[in-house]
Each structure stands twice: as structure tokens, then as C-alpha cells.
């Protein structure tokens, strides 16, 4: 770990800079052959940075009170130089964050990135998904448009549906008898400070946990088994510069798409910034159709699909919906223990795992589509079926992964 440069040795004696640069970058082995799915982690970090920086700048011009919030957003869009660009980067960044997150997690499901010993990496990641969902919700309330107000009302009333404590809990969260400026101001503090700090901490743990164990690959091969004389895995390469430089063109492609949206379709066709949100919140006027932003649509669909309760247990349909909606996120946390397969990657798993993944992906996408539409009988029925198909792959996982016929995994990449 000795550095030739005397400045670096002075620093290294006091702070392990070179050692950590080597441990995490220049001497950290990663699988030599991965596919484009493995770029999403880096892209997620880039988007996180974009959100933080644009968020800080927006904070300089935003007013977090009920009276001033909506007008302050228009102030940003019109009076602040490049304010419109910052606003659109932040709103597009939020959608990009979820888009990348869903594909990043899907990669995890496909290639068994959660399997031992990477369970903690997966758990930190699931927690990050949960925090991201909270962050997006809190952020969407801040412009105080019609959809900000009414969608927040819907979600807060879910808390109100909890038996016994529900009503007081809802009032406690709101800070008022109804959703008001008191709620807005505290959501601002949560969105700007609390959740981002938690997310930063979790990202650090997520990456440290990953580096401790080593990244996976699409074949599910353990590259640590075979090393050369120097200790370097035969199927591995140092992370920097072989893979870090690979992130750069990916970032370029990402920015092409990102800025194409920011400059030519910033409201995402009404999916990224919903139309009613260009009207100031009016608690006397409910929008025709309260829909969440696209990235919550699958879960909202599951929530709405639960049209029945359990009367003899005193559970209303609303509360049961809340439970199942929470379960749809919670079930992701326990996947490492549901998967009993000897094999890591979908490439070598049996036919049942493949069907399960297709079932999960299609129901997720269908639920997402349905979540943006108003309800009717047919849609509710399809949503209910899709909810079952969403949970089935997980509920049956311990069985089919243990008993299905898998292919033999190669030793080397």
C-alpha cells in the first residue's frame, strides 16, 4: 500500500485513500463478462446525483408554505434563469430513477443476485426501493397542485384505515385535521433532508456489502474459485479501468434519452407531470380522475383490486387493500430465503422459474397499465387476476426452485 508520491503517503498515513481506491476500484475484481443489465447500478448513482443537485437548486427558489408553493414553482419556471431546466431535470430524474430501479431489481431477480452471500446487498436494495417510493410521494406533494393534494389525501387515508389507531395516526402524520400547509412543510423537511440522508447511507452500505462479496454475473458462475498465480480470478478483471470506463458510454446514452425527454416531452405525455397538477390545489374541487404517477401505478392497481374485506375480523376492504399493497413490496425482502435453487441464474434454472419470471413481469406491467386508468368491472377483474399472478411466483418459489430440473452451471465464464 505504499505510495511513491510523498503527498499521497502523507495522506495515506492519516486516511486510507490509496488502500480504498485499490480495494474498490483498481484492484477489485469483477466478472469479465456481464451484459448491459449490469450498468443500471452506475446509472442509478448518476440519477441520484442529478436529483440531489437539481433538488438543492430548486430549494433555493421554492416556498414550502401552502400559500406560496404553487406560485413559487411557476416562479422557478418563468422568473429564475434556467429554472425550467432544473424543474424538468428533477421531474424527469424522478421517473428515470424508478425506471432504472425496476430494471436493476429485475436483473437481481433474473440472475439470482440476492443469493447467499449477497442477501444483505438485496435487503439494503429493497429498503432503498421503499425509501425511493416514499421520497417520490413526498416530492410530488410539494408543488401543491390538484394531484399533489388529492393523491396525498388518498394515501394518507390509507393510514386512516388502520383499525383503532388509524384516525389519530392520520391526524398525527398530517399535523392538522385535514391535509394542509402543516403537512406540506413537514413533507418538505422529510423529502429534502431525512429520506435523502437515509438513502445515501443505504447506498454506501449496499455498495460495501457488494464489494465484500463480489459482483455476480449472468451465468451465475463463481469467479472466485479459479485464480491465477497473482491471486486475480481467471474470469475477473479489475473494476477500474475495465468496467468503470464501460459506464461512460452508458451514461452518454442515458443522457441522450434523458435530455430528449427533458427538452421535447418533459411532462411525459401527462405521465411524469400529471395535467391536474398545473392547477393549484383546491380542497373544494376533486379532480375527475385521481391517478398516481406511473411508477406507483402497479402498486396502486393492487391496492384498488382488493374490493373485499374480512368482516368478521373487522378488516375493511380499504385496510385489507393496504395490507396487500404493503405485502407486495414486503415480499421482495424475503426472496433470498424463498429461492431454494442450487443454481443462481435464470439461464440455468428450470422451466418453472422461467414461467414464474414471465408471469411476474407481465403482471407487473399490466398492473402498471391498469393503475393509470379509471376503474371499471373488467379492469378490476384483470387487476385481481394479475395481483394473484404477481404473488404466485414468490409464494410458490420455495417449491418449484427446489424441485425443478436445472441445467449444469459451467465452472468458468
Amino acid at each position: 500500500m505504499a505510495s511513491k508520491n510523498s503527498l499521497m503517503s502523507w495522506i495515506d498515513r492519516r486516511l486510507p485513500v490509496t488502500e480504498n481506491l485499490e480495494r474498490h476500484l483498481t484492484k477489485h475484481p469483477v466478472p469479465s463478462k456481464v451484459n448491459f443489465f449490469y450498468l443500471f447500478g452506475a446509472l442509478l448513482m448518476v440519477v441520484f446525483m442529478i436529483q440531489v443537485i437539481t433538488g438543492i437548486w430548486l430549494m433555493m427558489f421554492y416556498t414550502n408554505t401552502e400559500e406560496g408553493a404553487f406560485a413559487s414553482v411557476e416562479y422557478i419556471m418563468r422568473d429564475v434563469e434556467y429554472g425550467w431546466l432544473m424543474r424538468y431535470m428533477h421531474s424527469t430524474g424522478a421517473s428515470a430513477f424508478f425506471f432504472l430501479m425496476y430494471f436493476h431489481m429485475f436483473r437481481g431477480l433474473l440472475y439470482g443476485s440476492y443469493q447467499k452471500p449477497k442477501e444483505l446487498v438485496w435487503l439494503f436494495g429493497c429498503f432503498l426501493l421503499f425509501l425511493l417510493m416514499a421520497e417520490g410521494f413526498l416530492g410530488y406533494v410539494l408543488p401543491w397542485g390538484q394531484m399533489s393534494y388529492w393523491a396525498a389525501n388518498v394515501i394518507l387515508s390509507l393510514f386512516g384505515a388502520i383499525p383503532f389507531i388509524g384516525e389519530s395516526l392520520q391526524v398525527w402524520i398530517q399535523g392538522d385535521y385535514v391535509l394542509s400547509g402543516a403537512t406540506l412543510s413537514r413533507f418538505f423537511a422529510l423529502h429534502v433532508v431525512v429520506v435523502p440522508l437515509l438513502m445515501i447511507a443505504l447506498v454506501v452500505f449496499h455498495i460495501f456489502a457488494l464489494h465484500e462479496v463480489g459482483a455476480g454475473n449472468p451465468e451465475g458462475v463463481d469467479i472466485e474459485k479459479y485464480r491465477d498465480k497473482t491471486g486475480m480470478p481467471l474470469d475477473g478483471k479489475p473494476f477500474h479501468p475495465y468496467k468503470t470506463f464501460g459506464a461512460l458510454p452508458a451514461i452518454g446514452v442515458f443522457f441522450i434519452v434523458f435530455f430528449a425527454i427533458v427538452y421535447y416531452a418533459p411532462t411525459g405525455g401527462g405521465y411524469f407531470i400529471e395535467k391536474p397538477n398545473f392547477e393549484e390545489a383546491n380542497f373544494l374541487k376533486t379532480p375527475e380522475h385521481i391517478a398516481p404517477v406511473w411508477y406507483y401505478a402497479p402498486f396502486y392497481s393492487i391496492l384498488r383490486a382488493v374490493t373485499f374485506g374480512i368482516p368478521f375480523l373487522g378488516i375493511t376492504s380499504k385496510f385489507l387493500g393496504f395490507i396487500i399493497f404493503a405485502a407486495s413490496i414486503a415480499i421482495l425482502f424475503i426472496v433470498p430465503w424463498l429461492d431454494r435453487s442450487k443454481v443462481q441464474s435464470i439461464r440455468y434454472k428450470g422451466i418453472f422459474s422461467k414461467i414464474a419470471m414471465i408471469m411476474f413481469a407481465t403482471s407487473f406491467i399490466t398492473l402498471g397499465y391498469l393503475g393509470t386508468k379509471p376503474v371499471n368491472e373488467i379492469r378490476t377483474l384483470i387487476a385481481q387476476i394479475c395481483t394473484i399472478f404477481y404473488f404466485l411466483p414468490f409464494i410458490l418459489m420455495p417449491i418449484y426452485t427446489k424441485y425443478e430440473k436445472t441445467l449444469e452451471v459451467p465452472d468458468r465464464l
Binding site: 434556467y82 463480489g214 485464480r227 491471486g231 449444469e408 465452472d411
Partner: protein, 270 residues
């Protein structure tokens, strides 16, 4: 074996080729003392496959050192690798590499600069700030001689004094009494002899000086010819805002940017 169409070709003891329905290539199978190794040989040519298989067996026997047990799911403690030399499959073209490193650094720097521009520009005064800080107009025809009007511009009180002819006559006589006569600014310190325009902010500690145009003896000056007196610490200024000698304030009252358009005074840049 796996796959429905796998073909198993025995080469020698513990060494075989096989095909799999997932891959167009030949795969190698090596069994050394009960330990099994399998990998793709990445070739569709059987003879080449056999050659590669033999090379591979030597590699395993010679170089490869299995560090840990065979179970894939055993927790692995990572060790750092000591060698970080690149693995050139082709010869490294040093000049091309250097050129690309430089080009990409330049492109990277331009990207960072490009990102910085909107964020740095956003700190410029917004339209709202510019609206609030815009120039202020004042109609001078309403101001009597000897009277002073106070107008707010950029949150500062601006004193507009309509000088009487007596005042204009008296001002040069004070040239010795003031610290900085500012003769190059003209008698009224504006382009219009009849009006003086100064910021109503004492240059000592920013109190608001009081207007005393009367020409009579005052507690702070026996020979007072009219001007401003700051009650906070006793600084004295003449009717054109020039500071007297031996008072706490160091400099004359500041003249804000202004212009005259007929009967209208515009304070601030036009």
C-alpha cells in the same frame, strides 16, 4: 447429462467433449481425481476444440490453484489482487490510447462546464428581483424649491432635493468646510443644477440623516447654511450631501445612478 441433444465425445481418461443445445460450441469436460471442470471452448471446430481442451487441462494442472472448496455457495473472503497489469488480447496502441484519454478528458470537462452553466446562471437576479430592483421614476414638477422628497429604490431611501437659488449660491462657499469638495461633480452633484439626488444613508453607520434646509445657527454649527444632520453620531452634510470635516462619517452621501428626462427623474439604470 443435460439437454436432450447432448453429444458426449470421449477423448481420453477424464477428458471429453460435449455439445449442449444451448450453445453452438463444443464444451470441455475434465475430471481430475473426482473433481469436475466444465467450460465452453468457444469453437465449432472439433479439432480445435480438442487442442483447446488439452491446453486447458494443462492450465488447470499447472497454473490454476483452487483457493477454496468446490461449493459455490460458500462465503468468499475477498483478497486483493497484486497484479494490475492490463490483459492485452491485441497489442496496446499507446498513442491511440493516449489520444483517447486526452479527448475523453476534454469531452468530460466540457460536459461538466455545460452542466455548470444553468446552475451558476440561476443565481443571477431573477425576473422578480429585477422587477423589484427596477428603476424608479419621480415627477419633479411636483417638488417645491427647498423641499425634499424621499423615494425608495432597491430598499434604500433616496433624497431628492429641489435646490433654491440661494442654496446653489451658498454651496461653493462650503468648499473649505467639507472633507471632499468633489468639484468635478458640479455644484449640485447631478447634471441638473436645480436638483440633488443622494442616498439617504449616513456613510458612518447607515442611519438616516435629517434634512435641515434652514439657514440659521444650529446646535451643531453656528454658521449652518442648510444641509443634513445625522442624529446618531452627529455627522454633518451640506445640501448636496458632501460630508463636513471632522465628523464621524468618512465620505460624501452616495449619488445613485440616475438620469433626467424632462420633468422626470429616473433613479437607477434606465
Amino acid at each position: 447429462m443435460q439437454g436432450k441433444k447432448a453429444k458426449h465425445i470421449h477423448i481420453s481418461e477424464g477428458m471429453s467433449l460435449y455439445t449442449r443445445d444451448r450453445s453452438p460450441f463444443y464444451w470441455g469436460y475434465i475430471n481430475i481425481d473426482g473433481e469436475v471442470f466444465k467450460k465452453s471452448l468457444k469453437t465449432e471446430d472439433k479439432d480445435e476444440a480438442i487442442k483447446l481442451l488439452t491446453l486447458w487441462k494443462d492450465e488447470i494442472l499447472g497454473e490454476g490453484k483452487k483457493v477454496l472448496s468446490q461449493k459455490i455457495n460458500m462465503p468468499v473472503k475477498k483478497t486483493l489482487i497484486s497484479n494490475t497489469k492490463p490483459f492485452p488480447k491485441e497489442k496496446i496502441n499507446a498513442t491511440r490510447r493516449k489520444a483517447l484519454q486526452i479527448t475523453s478528458s476534454v469531452v468530460g470537462a466540457v460536459t461538466v462546464a455545460g452542466f455548470a452553466v444553468p446552475f451558476l446562471s440561476a443565481w443571477q437576479p431573477s425576473e422578480r428581483a429585477k422587477a423589484l430592483g427596477a428603476s424608479v421614476k419621480y415627477d419633479l414638477s411636483k417638488l417645491e424649491p427647498g423641499a425634499m422628497a424621499v423615494v425608495e429604490w432597491r430598499r434604500t431611501p433616496i433624497f431628492i432635493v429641489h435646490q433654491t437659488s440661494e442654496a446653489i449660491k451658498n454651496l461653493p462657499s462650503l468648499n473649505q468646510k467639507v472633507a471632499n469638495p468633489a468639484l468635478e461633480e458640479g455644484v449640485s452633484r447631478t447634471t441638473n443644477d436645480k436638483f440633488s439626488v443622494v442616498k439617504g444613508v449616513c456613510t458612518h453607520l447607515s442611519c438616516a440623516p435629517k434634512y435641515h434646509p434652514e439657514i440659521e445657527p444650529k446646535a451643531w454649527d453656528e454658521e449652518w447654511k442648510g444641509g443634513f444632520f445625522c442624529p446618531c453620531h452627529g455627522s454633518k452634510f451640506d445640501l448636496a450631501g458632501r460630508v463636513y470635516k471632522n465628523v464621524p462619517a468618512p465620505t460624501n452621501l452616495e449619488v445613485p445612478p440616475h438620469s433626467f428626462e424632462g420633468d422626470t427623474l429616473i433613479i437607477g439604470e434606465a
